[in-house]
Symmetry: C2
Subunit: 143 residues, 2 copies
């Protein structure tokens, strides 16, 4: 089984609100195959999907009930502290809730967190030990 995540699907309470946040707010592009039931966004070698939460639970054969922290965070890494600051300011203007203002981290990096309209936490991080390649993808150190 190859190590691979192909899709991250966020179960959302209102697809219109979520689409507005990610596409109009963050400026990301809904793929042409998106429709009124699902939105697909190419996020660099994998797909971010937005889908109604109860439909997603039904698809996965799990109970839809759930509350509080879902246990998963997503991170958007950038190349410098200044880019972390600029990105947090950008998402603040896109109506994101800022969970944590940018600050130095215990592991030697610098990061802030925001929440999307459904409360999913995104970290915006600069990690000096993880260089980004030409496509902006993180590269884990070999040692």
């Amino acid at each position: 089984m190859q190590p691979r995540i192909s899709v991250v699907t966020l179960g959302v309470s209102d697809l219109g609100v979520a689409r507005k946040f990610y596409c109009d707010g963050l400026g990301w592009t809904a793929a042409p195959s998106s429709n009124q039931h699902v939105v697909f966004i190419d996020v660099g070698a994998l797909v971010l999907a937005l889908f109604e939460r109860s439909d997603l639970a039904k698809d996965a054969h799990v109970r839809a009930d759930g509350q509080g922290f879902g246990g998963i965070t997503l991170a958007h890494n950038v190349g410098s502290k200044a880019e972390v600051d600029a990105t947090i300011e950008f998402v603040r203007k896109a109506s994101a809730t800022i969970l944590k203002e940018p600050a130095d981290t215990f592991w030697g990096g610098y990061s802030g967190y925001f929440a999307d309209p459904d409360g999913y936490p995104w970290e915006v991080a600069w990690n000096p030990f993880w260089p980004l390649d030409a496509n902006g993808r993180v590269q884990l150190p070999k040692f």
Copy 2:
């Protein structure tokens, strides 16, 4: 803000159990920079991180309380129905809980779901409309 997910972090109740499942069970490789507090796995242009759940909530400045479906699913796409079946059999032997046995889907594909030790749902899917590139990454259609 570039469309990019750099890291998906799963908040886990027991890092040893989660590491055993993903590394010994699924056969994925912990990066050398992993340690007793965190595991990093290269999953193809992004990183899957395993981190203790309450520490993750603390890092994101959210309350750790939460129960039930967390609202996010991950998908692992493969190239055929037979590969879906084989992958579900593989993870079943790795002690995954099978949430949904492989079956044809309403959208014209074929998929099953399993849960990892913390209950996070993974879909194993074949999508005839999303070809995989040489690296196994999904390619969204241009139309």
